[in-house]
């Protein structure tokens, strides 16, 4: 099988699909794209099934050689895209031919982008998914993060329309994000003053921010308990260990833990958090469970009506 040859993966390149579902009881976490919105749009532009495997690139600086006639698309952080040295738009489907070279530069804002091909990359699923979780040693091509010399297999694809997302409809990646938080878990163990401080302060993304979680720095918020019996942790949970500095838990988090949690961030906002680099600013705002439920449904309706357009011949 032919496909896309990895010449240089850049800082970190991982194969991701929709994520691994339904295996918490084995201790397996979700994996999957950190910026779900950009990942889903990549597949929609390529007219792929939702959740088709794409490469998640972190900070760019990657090069590939095409080994098969196909179509590709890059979404997410604006990494300058060059095909055979010529600048091309991201958020747009481009035909590529065997032998073409693909280069992705460093983005001026944001940090993660998705490189997809028509039909998605083909790899052997483990527990129903090809998503790479480095901590678990599962997924991808079976060898962890992508390395020079790897071949990302893909199949010949029938013609694709040259779909693109107009610039006005593209997400913007700035260095400030507001996370909507549903208070829960051990919220009652956080004194009123601590809760006010948490929701009224600005936090900064530290350099300990990865696919497991984003560790933030700012005013100290402590619970009146140190730890608790280990319990399940879901996506977006906000943990406050003894040092009082919040950690927002993401796709590759451990599935259980014993630190106090003040609540969980809305999944829709995690995509923006995961585009933050160290130094980025985070603000938390509380919302009710009902508002969160509504927000999910509204976002789905909005995504369905998003103005995807077709480039003329």
């Amino acid at each position: 099988m032919s496909g896309l040859h990895v010449e240089d993966p850049g800082l970190l390149a991982l194969l991701q699909d929709g994520g691994r579902r339904g295996h918490y009881r084995l201790g397996l976490t979700d994996g999957g794209p950190l910026d779900r919105q950009a990942f889903d749009l990549c597949n929609r532009l390529l007219e792929n099934p939702a959740g088709a495997a794409a490469v998640e690139l972190t900070f760019g600086g990657a090069r590939f050689t095409v080994g098969i006639d196909s179509y590709l698309c890059v979404t997410g952080a604006p990494m300058p895209l060059r095909i055979n040295g010529e600048e091309r738009s991201t958020w747009e489907v481009h035909p590529v031919r065997e032998g073409d070279s693909i280069a992705l530069g460093h983005p001026p804002a944001g940090c993660r982008a998705y490189l997809g091909v028509a039909g998605g990359f083909q790899a052997e699923p483990v527990f129903g998914s090809v998503s790479t979780v480095l901590r678990e040693g599962l997924g991808g091509l079976g060898t962890g993060k992508l390395a020079p010399g790897d071949l990302l297999p893909c199949t010949p694809a029938p013609g694709r329309r040259r779909l693109y997302l107009p610039e006005a409809a593209q997400p913007r990646y700035n260095s400030q994000v507001t996370l909507r938080v549903i208070p829960g878990y051990q919220q009652h163990h956080f004194p009123r003053l601590a809760q006010r401080r948490f929701f009224g302060s600005r936090y900064t993304v530290t350099d300990r921010a990865d696919r497991m979680g984003y560790r933030l720095e700012g005013p100290v918020v402590r619970a009146d308990i140190e730890g608790l019996l280990s319990e399940g942790i879901c996506l977006g949970a906000i943990q406050l260990p003894a040092d009082g500095q919040p950690i927002v838990l993401l796709n590759d988090r451990q599935t259980i833990g014993g630190y106090p949690k003040i609540g969980a961030a809305l999944s829709l906002d995690l995509a923006r958090l995961a585009q933050q680099r160290p130094g980025g600013e985070v603000v938390f705002t509380p919302i009710t469970q009902h508002a969160a439920h509504n927000a999910l449904h509204l976002a789905r309706a909005f995504e369905a009506s998003r103005s995807i357009q077709e480039r003329g011949p």
Partner: protein
Amino acid sequence: MIIELAGESAVMVYLGETMDPAVAARVQALADALPDALDEALLDLVPSYASLLVVYDPYLTDHMAVVRKLHHLGYALEQGRAGEGRLVELPAWYSCESGADLEELARRAGLAMAEVIALHSGTDYRVYAIGFAPGFAYLGEVDERIAAPRLATPRQRVPRGAIAIADRQTAVYPAASPGGWNLVGRCPRRLFDPAADPCMPVAVGDRVRFRPIDREEYLALGGEP
């Protein structure tokens, strides 16, 4: 039963506050009953010592409906009793060579190493939770006399199969990883093998008993040297 919000599409059900087989049995019974009650709206579950995290599909159901069903099941649970779970025997090579902290643990406990081994292998443990890493089963409760706090400085690398103690919990590391538990021996059996079916020899609710073996048997059973 206390139900707390855990996120936009998850709730946390607390059925107690301590490591207690009776509480764990109720967690297990609720976990067993939920797939039928929530049907395809149930995405996943994380049973733990005294809690159950329930993750549902927000496009198929909502918070109110899930909470209503949980209360209904909670009432039914008071009437019933969960099963004992299977008894799984795991071979264990206890020694200073295979368990770097065995000697120190015995010294601090004021016991002979043979006594530590007898106490560790003489207890049937319950699988309370699985997490931390794929296939990492939290087993309890370790005899008070050999309970030991986590190491002040965790090890960079604990080998696969290491049998370890932290407070009144014990576990077998399913893969090499960093770790801060006290190492007392090694188990030759693989605790997590993605290619095997089932991929784990134990599940939450099972009981585990360690059977002491020597180095030769450890190697004969395929243990990593």
